[in-house]
């Protein structure tokens, strides 16, 4: 997961890029003809100083290698921003950064 946070006058512009196949469960493998099982991110959240401010849920229609952009208000230098995601197979990742 790549995270880019820019502090613009107390507003954190948070850009998130996750490497993930986002398989719909509808596609067929071209060689074997078998259906590729669904594998997609269901949850994305942002915590600001331990407080959940963004709670996003995705379906299979979110593009492969998902990108998200949110704007969190009332931030100060040194505040922690924690970004987490979790997919339908229970795989998850978190990243904590402090605001510059």
């Amino acid at each position: 997961m790549r995270v880019n946070i820019i502090n613009k006058n107390g507003q954190a512009h948070v850009r998130i890029l996750v490497k993930h196949p986002m398989e719909t469960g509808l596609r067929k493998d071209k060689d074997s003809g078998k259906i590729i099982p669904a594998h997609f991110i269901k949850h994305v959240s942002i915590e600001h100083k331990g407080q959940k401010v963004i709670n996003a849920r995705c379906g299979v229609a979110v593009s492969k290698d998902p990108f998200f952009y949110f704007k969190v208000n009332d931030v100060a230098t040194g505040d922690s921003i924690k970004i987490s995601w979790e997919d339908n197979l229970g795989k998850a990742e978190s990243k904590e950064e402090s605001i510059a």
Partner: protein, 158 residues
């Protein structure tokens, strides 16, 4: 030797998977405790109205000029369509993005706390030319804005 090693790895892998299933069944692994529930009915709904009803309890969203939806009018590649939904409305509780002509229209929904701008940008897949609808829940009511995105190559095919 090589084959046998692979067999060992496979057995090991399937045992680990089996144990994870058992742990999940016993309630030891409950990832959803940390994350709020995933609205399965809404994401699996086959029509825009059903998805909205299931997600937000109503399918009647008033069109609003205070919501801006930004998406390309023509998408050459339906598998990556940039969508921005933003609004100047107060007390925004959630923003959802739906593509009417997708098999399951609901693509993305986000609950926002008061300390977040009512702004979201992401990328979605469009199977074919479709209305893309941004639905904002503000003060308990639903508002929407939409744009037609013309797709020349679909993003859901095999």
């Amino acid at each position: 030797m090589q084959v046998d090693l692979k067999r060992r790895l496979f057995l090991k892998g399937s045992m680990a998977a089996g144990m994870a299933t058992v742990a999940a069944a016993a309630g030891l692994l409950t990832p959803n405790v940390v994350m709020a529930a995933w609205p399965q009915g809404a994401f699996e709904a086959k029509s825009l109205d059903n998805a909205l009803n299931s997600l937000l309890g109503s399918a009647s969203a008033a069109k609003s000029h205070d919501i801006k939806i930004k998406a390309p009018t023509i998408a050459e590649n339906g598998s990556v369509v940039n969508v921005v939904v933003q609004t100047t409305m107060p007390d925004v509780e959630s923003i959802s993005i739906l593509a009417e002509k997708n098999g399951n229209p609901l693509a993305f929904t986000v609950d926002l706390s008061k300390s977040v701008d009512a702004y979201v940008k992401t990328r979605i897949k469009l199977g074919k030319t479709s209305r893309v609808v941004g639905v904002v829940k503000s003060g308990g009511k639903l508002y929407s804005a939409e744009q037609v995105v013309k797709v020349t190559v679909g993003g859901c095919g095999g």
